[in-house]
């Protein structure tokens, strides 16, 4: 059954509503939690799970208002996003993490990955490259959570620009530009890994 058919079953109530809710939960809950944890790293796992759960409950109560003009995830996503922003307001937080003081020493950080220039690329170097990229990507995500979510959603989860534009609350064109620009920024973030491995 499609998401629209399931929401109609929920609106009818009774036993079919239970099965429909359960199915929608299975399909979307974990993906939505991951997406919003990517986008809002300042929130803990418990907070995101609570917010997404409560938002799903609200969506089930309002199931009769879902007309299928957008995807169910997009429709529910707007409920979740508002709930998150209200939660951040209420707890007086902004969506960024403070960068660990030990990592402000860029040179010390980069020196970890300096390899002898003459040594050819080995499995060990590939492992180090992988670690370097992981750490740099994590730092990029801390500073640019929305960008990292957008890149993850589009290039890993195949979310199209139309849906992404709704998630990011931007126009279609602005979303494409944003993703392209942030990918270039990420590239710049990752450059030190290549330089130090002499590729």
């Amino acid at each position: 059954m499609t998401d629209l058919e399931l929401t109609r079953a929920i609106a009818q109530k009774g036993e079919p509503a239970y099965s429909a809710m359960s199915l929608l939960f299975e399909r979307h809950f974990r993906i939505l939690c991951r997406r919003y944890r990517y986008q809002f790293p300042v929130l803990s796992e418990d907070e995101v799970v609570d917010i997404v759960s409560n938002s799903m409950l609200v969506a089930f109560e309002k199931a009769h208002t879902f007309k299928g003009n957008s995807t169910f995830q997009t429709w529910l996503g707007s409920i979740i996003r508002n709930a998150i922003l209200n939660h951040l307001d209420a707890t007086k937080r902004q969506n960024h993490l403070s960068i660990d003081a030990s990592e402000t020493d860029e040179q010390a950080f980069e020196n970890k990955y300096i390899i002898d220039e003459k040594t050819p690329l080995t499995e060990y170097q590939l492992k180090l490259l992988g670690e370097c990229v992981s750490v740099h990507f994590a730092r990029f995500r801390e500073r640019n959570p929305e960008a990292s979510m957008a890149i993850f959603e589009h290039f890993i989860e195949n979310t199209d620009f139309k849906e992404l534009s709704v998630l990011l609350n931007r126009s279609y064109g602005a979303t494409r530009q944003f993703v392209s620009k942030e990918a270039a920024k990420l590239r710049a973030f990752l450059e030190p890994c290549l330089v130090h491995l002499q590729l």
Binding site: A11, Y18, M21, C33, L57, H64, S134, I151, I156, C193
Partner: protein
């Protein structure tokens, strides 16, 4: 990787390499792959565990049950698959319609032409033009009475409903006189106490 994943991976390589790159070098491909792996790894870490998902579902289920989301709709709600708001709207519309018809009937009745059919003593027996009370005996009586040659239209009167049912003959007679006979067969009579002038 599936074909779709291959295509996305290639797209990611090109994007990361930069818009002006016509092809990707080994380093570009390596970087793209490592970043992709890093993103997937973080994605895994951020995805709730099975245990957490199960707890979240139990929580939702309990709250949904307490809010009556699983209850069968009752009565009208069940038969007509309406929610509470729709039922309220339907009842409001029905009530408005009933009130409209009720007032319309009174208005029509008040404006009906009342025709003097006969006179009897000090009472004027009048029959409403769309009279729908059947009084075979009364009609017979009326038949036996001297009919006024000039039928005059009067307004007002006291409404009296009679329990008699119109039979075929009476219906025919009334229709001949230009009266409409209603389906439920009752004749309404207006009795005026004032003496005829």
């Amino acid at each position: 990787m599936s074909e779709n994943e291959d295509a996305t991976a290639t797209q990611w390589e090109t994007t990361l390499a930069g818009e002006n790159s016509s092809s990707t070098s080994l380093s570009d491909r390596l970087l793209a792959k490592m970043t992709r792996d890093a993103m997937l790894e973080i994605g895994e870490q951020l995805t709730p565990s099975d245990e957490m998902s199960k707890r979240a579902w139990m929580n939702i289920e309990e709250k949904a049950r307490s809010r009556g989301l699983f209850n069968e709709k009752q009565g009208l709600l069940r038969w007509f698959r309406l929610d509470k708001f729709q039922v309220r709207v339907a009842f409001a519309m029905m009530a408005t319609f009933v009130l409209f018809v009720w007032f319309t009937i009174f208005q029509v009745r008040d404006q009906n032409d009342i025709v003097v059919l006969a006179m009897r003593g000090e009472s004027q027996i009048v029959i409403v033009s769309d009279a729908n009370a059947e009084v075979p005996e009364l009609v017979s009586e009326i038949r036996g009475l001297k009919l006024s040659p000039n039928i005059e239209k009067l307004e007002g009167g006291t409404l009296v409903e009679t329990p008699w049912v119109i039979n075929e003959d009476t219906e025919k007679w009334l229709k001949q006189k230009g009266f409409k006979v209603s389906k439920d067969g009752k004749l309404r009579l207006f009795l005026k106490s004032s003496a005829p002038q």
